[in-house]
């Protein structure tokens, strides 16, 4: 028996820089193993699932629960450092099981319709033009900050109905909350500022409803029931977080993929009908969420011959599943014409991403316009010097220095 596989250190800097080769080793024998995984708050002893088939099965398996209170207990029981305290946040649909999940999701579904998303299209196009207009022709810029992080936060602000003059605040709070570099105190300050602001905003929308999601969520009803005040707050807060870094990483990882695969970039320039498929391929190639959000076993679950006991933490690696050769031919090759779908970057099963249609639309708009406006894209540092976010949860670039030229 060799320990080569269980030795993979998910907390190491090296892992964050090159997860793919390590996941490939983990996938090799199809056995799930326990590792230490660090969430935003705490290091946990947890099972990590890396195979595509196993990942998809488990994402839809009701025995893998997200029920907030019991999940927090399971986290407590599996934390690496007994001294760590786990912060308790108000439950949202992402951290609940049916029937609560069903109700919350339907209430959001009533407000977050395809129609509402489609209505945002002209506005997103205009915003994208504005942001691209600020990229000076032929000069070095960091695409992560000028574009990738900027677009999604403005879009979420618009969708929710945050007045435009507060979008920058929104961006500051979100940045602090999503970063590993900010201290617990800084996070708490941002957290409080965001919640105070959202509470006020809900009150304002109650008094004067508008054509936005917060107003729609206030009104949304299923079987005569509405969202309670804490549910309203947690739903809005979830929307604000779930679509920020994820969408940003889709954009910057996609740009990098095209920089490194000029043949694929040329294909897209020649035939813009390939764009929707290309967005799916960018998502498959570098899943913005490395690991799914946290789950625990409500009862024992057998996975490929191993039994995971009850009350243990499980993470499903979407990044790894998407590179499984059993599902995708030449998984490490970027192929914008790839016919087979089924990447897991938006999850699978009841928690499948609510924002997927919006994210896809943002992707199509931004890549379409980037290709149109800039005939030549160059990376200004060698690709191996790029740094990936030091996180086992997200997969995305910290910075992407490029030079974009009209010709």
């Amino acid at each position: 028996m060799t320990n080569a596989v269980s030795d993979v250190d998910l907390l190491s800097w090296d892992f964050a820089q090159d997860p793919h080769s390590r996941y490939a080793r983990m996938r090799n024998d199809g056995v799930v193993r326990k590792h230490v995984v660090k969430t935003l708050a705490t290091a946990l002893n947890a099972w990590v699932v890396t195979d595509y088939e196993q990942a998809r099965e488990l994402l839809a398996d009701p025995r893998l629960s997200k029920e907030t209170e019991k999940l927090l207990d399971a986290m407590d029981a599996n934390k690496v450092n007994a001294g760590d305290t786990i912060t308790r946040t108000p439950p949202s649909m992402l951290f609940s099981d049916p029937p609560d999940h069903t109700r919350l999701r339907r209430l959001l579904g009533n407000a977050f319709t395809m129609r509402r998303v489609e209505k945002l299209r002209p506005w997103i196009e205009e915003l994208t033009d504005d942001l691209l207009g600020k990229i000076p022709d032929g000069e070095e810029v960091d695409l992560v900050h000028t574009l990738a992080l900027a677009l999604p936060i403005f879009v979420i602000g618009k969708l929710l109905g945050v007045p435009q003059d507060r979008h920058e605040d929104f961006r500051t709070w979100n940045g602090a909350l999503a970063s590993l570099d900010t201290s617990a105190e800084e996070k708490q300050v941002a957290h409080k500022a965001a919640f105070d602001y959202l509470r006020q905003l809900i009150e304002d929308k109650r008094a004067a409803p508008d054509d936005d999601m917060i107003s729609a969520l206030i009104e949304a009803q299923v079987d005569g029931g509405k969202l309670s005040e804490p549910e309203l707050l947690s739903t809005i807060y979830l929307m604000m977080n779930a679509g920020y870094e994820t969408t940003a990483h889709m954009i910057s990882s996609g740009v990098l993929a095209l920089l490194e695969n000029p043949d694929q970039q040329a294909l897209l320039r020649k035939d813009s009908t390939l764009l929707p498929g290309a967005i799916e391929e960018f998502l498959r190639f570098e899943s913005p969420l490395n690991m799914s959000t946290i789950r625990y076993t409500a009862s024992p679950v057998e996975v490929g011959g191993v039994t995971i006991p009850a009350n243990e933490i499980v993470f499903i690696s979407l990044l790894s599943a998407n590179r499984d050769a059993a599902k995708f031919t030449d998984p490490d090759t970027l192929d914008v014409t790839r016919p087979n779908r089924g990447h897991l970057s938006f999850g699978y099963g009841i928690h499948h991403c609510v924002g997927a249609p919006l994210a896809r639309m943002e992707g199509e708009i931004v890549f379409g316009k980037l290709l149109d406006r800039f005939g030549r894209w160059e990376l200004t540092v060698p690709a191996r010097e790029l740094e990936w976010k030091y996180s086992a949860q997200f997969r995305g670039l910290d910075r992407l220095p490029v030079r974009m030229s009209a010709e």
């Binding site: 069903t102 999701r105 339907r106 395809m114 099963g349 499948h352 997927a356």
Partner: protein, 74 residues
């Protein structure tokens, strides 16, 4: 005749697996899409919940006695 009929429109299904996750008794995965396990079933609220949740409105549930379409809602 009593009971409900269940159909999934394979052209609109986008393979989210939400139905499979919500009601594995009624829905299963078939390559990258989902299909009903049975075309005819006894009335069950769990089935309706799962069908309502489909973001693509690809699931159709019909009351066979009256012919009424229960999901998607008009």
């Amino acid at each position: 005749m009593s009971g409900w009929s269940v159909e999934i429109d394979a052209r609109t299904c986008i393979g989210t697996g939400m139905c499979v996750g919500a009601a594995p008794k009624y829905f299963q995965r078939k390559s990258s899409k989902s299909v009903p396990v049975h075309d005819h079933v006894e009335p069950d609220e769990d089935l309706l919940d799962a069908a309502f949740a489909c973001p693509a409105e690809a699931i159709r549930v019909r009351d066979e006695a009256t012919g009424d379409v229960l999901v998607p809602e008009a």
